[in-house]
């Protein structure tokens, strides 16, 4: 039994070691960031919501990283693992749990430690790893129980329904942060419960006694299929194809990210909080959320089902009698639609959340001069968010389609997350830093990209064209990103001028240049 | 109309079709005026190239065994007793050759073979009347 278990663990390790390596690199990056921060920013006012939401953001991305952004890696489909069949179910489930949940916990410890040191918050040490492990356990169990699509649905439903409701009773005197033992016990209980659920579900699935809760729901969709009408044109058909495949992803991700990461602090923490915090949080988060989601969605846009093993485009796509330009246009249009829908979803959720906190709502309705949050600024932020999101979507999409490997993609995500962190902390009045101190920062952000490029070159995944594009686009992306972040505090402070807005807007538009070159890139990809 | 072909026979496929149709004609399973399946249909049925079927039909037409009627399909021609007879004899001759070779192998004398033929013919007679 021992050797079988070790064999299963080894299989897990082989599947995910690349991503654990990525996480290690991120940790190194974080250390580097910490070094650059050390002399720049004085500790901002101690406010739990900001830091916890940042920690949870990290945890979220850690989980994604360890699980390779692919639900199938969280939920192993048993029938395909023929060689595993003689193994008892509990061994299988245990190995997955132990490896993934423990891996997430272990990996998040160094990050928690750094935060702990930086901001002098000892509770973070256990809260972050436990929270990350609990999240991972939740993912595992829902995927085992509901199968892929059902798990996503349950995730959204849980977040949308439960979190705002839980936010209502703001006067919670009992907080988990103040009772570390309770928090730890609660997390352990949660993980054990998730493990038991996974075990039961995996066992049922193995005996084919369980088709997943989603199967029942999707059966209801079947009647729709018979009533579908023919498409008006080839362009319509292609847009439907893109929307159906990945276009809905961005709104869904935006919703999950927003609801999950904005509302969990409210459950765990006491009130009252600093009155300006929610306003800042919402504004910056709404702006960064769309762009962030654009990154992840772009990763999935560039996912395997468009690519052959040789990193070209799938023959199904490319044997459509449609010009390459039109194929690219269809995809871009759907990407734009995604961004619009994602922004709309987040606007709705913002309003929903505002409705649950009376003080916030009154500020909006009364147009208090003190309140930062005016309609005009809201419109401006929304506009910039939209264009930035679209531009970044195009940039990331074109980057990833040029065989720039996932490692670089993750590196880019991390870079953005780290810089958003800086923006949030700097938002409290620290001036942007001068260049010499930021060199370690720049290097720390470029490092994952360089490692990624090197490893893909080794594996023969990168063509010369891809390399050229990556080398050219990566610095542009980074510089734009950095400028975006360093100027952002000015946007939300009192001394914000039209000039600032113009410059920031222009920088957001810079990645939009990628849109113009998309047909050319696609042509390069189509014909090798 | 039951035709079987095997691509690995060594005999070209069109020739197999020609032979089998000739055999069907000779054994009266296809009579004068009967329709043979259109090229397309036979090709699909046998899973072979339509051109092969077309070639077989052409050869049979040249031999006078089939006629094509405009727009109505291909039919067995009404004429041709002498040709059919010659063909019949030739086909039978091949069978006799095979029979004699086998008999030699099994070490059965010619008289025994002839006696066997007569015996079998007598046994078959009542069935033939009902043909």
């Amino acid at each position: 039994m021992h050797s079988t278990f070790l064999a299963l663990l080894w299989q897990q390790w082989r599947q995910t070691r690349l991503y654990l390596f990525v996480v290690l690199v991120l940790v190194l990056n974080f250390l580097a960031l910490e070094m650059s921060w050390g002399g720049l920013v004085e500790p901002p006012p101690p406010d739990w919501p900001i830091y916890l939401q940042s920690f949870l953001l990290f945890a979220f991305f850690l989980i994604l990283l360890v699980s390779h952004c692919d639900p199938e890696n969280i939920h192993p489909s048993i029938p395909s693992r023929v060689f595993v069949l003689p193994v008892p179910t509990y061994l299988l489930v245990t190995s997955y749990f132990i490896f993934r949940v423990a891996a997430v916990g272990i990996v998040s410890v160094p990050i928690a430690y750094n935060y702990c040191l930086l901001f002098d918050r000892p509770s973070v040490m256990y809260l972050l790893p436990l929270g990350a492990m609990a999240l991972m356990a939740y993912f595992q169990s829902t995927f085992w129980l509901f199968a892929r699509a059902g798990a996503i649905a349950s995730l959204i439903a849980g977040c949308v329904l439960l979190c705002p409701i839980a936010a209502l009773p703001l006067s919670i005197s009992f907080t988990l942060a103040q009772h570390p033992a309770w928090t730890a016990a609660g997390a352990v209980v949660f993980i054990l419960a998730a493990f038991v659920v996974s075990l039961v579900a995996a066992r049922l699935e193995r005996r084919s006694a369980w088709t997943g809760a989603w199967a029942v729901i999707s059966a209801l969709w079947d009647w729709r299929v018979g009533r579908q009408k023919p498409f008006a044109s080839a362009a319509h058909a292609q847009r439907w194809f893109e929307w159906k495949r990945r276009g809905k992803l961005l709104p869904v991700l935006a919703a999950i990210a927003f609801v999950l990461l904005r509302n969990l602090p409210r459950i765990l923490l006491p009130s009252p909080m600093h009155p300006r915090i929610p306003v800042y949080q919402d504004a910056t988060f709404a702006a960064s959320c769309t762009v962030l989601a654009a990154f992840v969605a772009a990763l999935w846009f560039a996912a395997q089902d468009y690519r052959e093993r040789t990193n070209g485009l799938s023959s199904f796509m490319m044997s459509r009698p449609m010009s390459t330009k039109n194929l690219g246009v269809a995809r871009l249009r759907v990407g734009a639609r995604s961004i619009l829908v994602a922004t709309a979803v987040m606007a709705v959720l913002l309003i929903l959340r505002a409705a649950t906190s009376g003080a916030f709502m009154s500020k909006i309705l009364l147009f208090d001069a003190e309140a930062w949050f005016s309609v005009k600024r809201l419109a401006v932020v929304a506009g910039i968010t939209l264009t930035a999101g679209l531009g970044w979507l195009a940039l990331c999409w074109s980057l990833f389609w040029f065989s720039v490997p996932l490692l670089s993609g993750y590196g880019l995500i991390f870079a953005f997350v780290a810089l958003v962190e800086i923006a949030i902390t700097r938002g409290f009045g620290a001036p942007p830093a001068s260049s010499p101190e930021t060199w370690p920062l720049i290097f720390a952000v470029l490092l994952p990209g360089l490692i990624g490029l090197y490893t893909s070159y080794q594996r023969g995944l990168v063509s010369i064209r891809g390399l050229v594009c990556a080398v050219v686009l990566w610095p542009i992306a980074f510089l734009d990103l950095a400028a975006l972040v360093f100027l952002a505090p000015g946007l939300f402070g009192p001394g914000w001028s039209t000039g600032d807005l113009a410059l920031w807007g222009a920088l957001c538009m810079l990645p939009g240049l990628a849109i113009a070159t998309v047909p050319l890139k696609m042509q390069w990809l189509r014909v090798r | 109309m039951r035709i079987h072909i095997s691509p690995n026979d060594g005999v070209p496929i069109y020739r197999q079709i020609v032979n089998q149709i000739k055999y069907l004609l000779a054994s009266r399973r296809l009579g004068p005026g009967d329709e043979v399946p259109p090229i397309r249909v036979l090709a699909e049925q046998l899973l072979i190239n339509p051109n092969t079927v077309a070639r077989a039909y052409r050869e049979l037409e040249t031999a006078g065994l089939l006629t094509k009627r405009q727009g109505a399909g291909t039919y067995v021609s009404d004429r041709g007793s002498p040709l059919a007879h010659a063909e019949r004899v030739r086909i039978l001759g091949e069978r006799v050759d095979a029979l004699l070779a086998e008999a030699q192998q099994l070490d059965i004398s010619l008289e025994d073979v002839a006696r066997l033929i007569t015996e079998r013919n007598d046994a078959m007679k009542p069935d033939e009347n009902g043909r």
Binding site: A234, R320, V527 | -
Partner: protein, 309 residues
């Protein structure tokens, strides 16, 4: 030149000195000269990795030739992909269909791209193949997936049907469907089928013209009659036992031992007979080899020559 007149007047496929290299070492296609005549079935035969799929990808405009040209209906597939692809129905080797689509969605989606789509015919095909319109492609078996792909390729009555290993891994029932589809396509005037396969008995039944590719080069190309007419299977008996295969001029490969040897030969029968007599052998039997035997003989022969080099 309008699309329709192009399809009417030009030959479906013309490849001239087509060469394709991957990286510096791999030569996938080496100076390939092929012409596919209208209205027939063209069989492309070769080992795994010989270059069949690479060739077909050139026809679709997915690969650019390193040297040489490819023209489909007179048009360069790289310069005008929509024009070319509108006349082609394609079934890829790995049945590369999006697994999340349902059968009916696949039909509607493909219909939008081809103006010549015949809805009644598509429905008839779907019923013949017994495909549930609401079923997702990922729930279909391998054979049904091939049938779905074939449906999408056939229903718009393409002028050129391109099938890349259509029968690989399929049960005999589905294989019959595919062969039937090929025959029906060709029975319609002017439509051409090009299919690659290593199931040579199928190629033998159905192909008019055959091209054999070995390691990127065309080793044999001609009509089925010519090929079968120029190859012979000779059984020779020698006076004395031979330890190794006899060296008969024109023979591609040998089988046998001691005194009796069977050779697959290429050339004129009288010359072969003379050569055999010159070696002191009696010809016991002569017959026409199957396409599979010819193919194996050629490939083995090429391998032996390579080994000797």
């Amino acid at each position: 030149m309008s699309e329709d007149s192009a399809a009417d007047s030009e030959r479906p496929v013309v490849a001239t000195a087509l060469t394709r290299r991957f990286g510096r070492k791999t030569v996938a296609l080496d100076n390939v000269d092929l012409e596919v005549p209208r209205g027939g079935v063209f069989g492309l035969v070769g080992e795994n990795g010989a270059g069949k799929t690479t060739f077909i990808k050139h026809l679709l405009g997915l690969l650019k030739p390193t040297a040489g040209t490819v023209r489909v209906f007179g048009i360069d597939p790289i310069k005008e992909p929509e024009n070319v692809l509108a006349h082609i129905g394609y079934l890829s080797e790995d049945r590369d269909l999006p697994r999340w689509m349902r059968v009916r969605e696949l039909m509607l989606y493909t219909q939008a791209f081809y103006p010549k789509w015949d809805h009644a015919y598509a429905e008839q095909l779907r019923e013949t193949f017994d495909l549930d319109p609401r079923a997702k492609l990922k729930t279909l078996s391998r054979g049904q997936l091939a049938q779905a792909g074939l449906l999408a390729a056939l229903a718009h009555r393409p002028d050129l049907l391109l099938l890349d290993e259509p029968s690989s891994g399929l049960d005999p029932v589905v294989r019959r469907d595919i062969l039937g589809a090929i025959i029906r396509t060709v029975a319609d005037e002017g439509r051409t089928v090009l299919f690659s396969s290593h199931l040579l008995d199928e190629v033998e039944r159905v192909a008019d013209t055959v091209a054999m590719i070995h390691q990127g080069r065309v080793v044999l190309c001609g009509t089925m009659d010519n090929i079968k007419g120029s190859h012979y299977r000779l059984t020779l008996r020698f006076q004395e036992a031979l330890r190794s295969a006899p060296a008969l001029l024109g023979a591609l490969s040998y089988e046998g031992s001691d005194r009796e040897w069977t050779a697959i030969c290429d050339g004129r029968l009288d010359q072969l007979k003379q050569a055999a007599v010159a070696l002191g052998a009696d010809i016991l039997e002569e017959s026409v080899p199957s396409l599979e035997e010819i193919f194996v003989a050629r490939v083995r022969g090429a391998r032996h020559t390579k080994a000797e080099d």
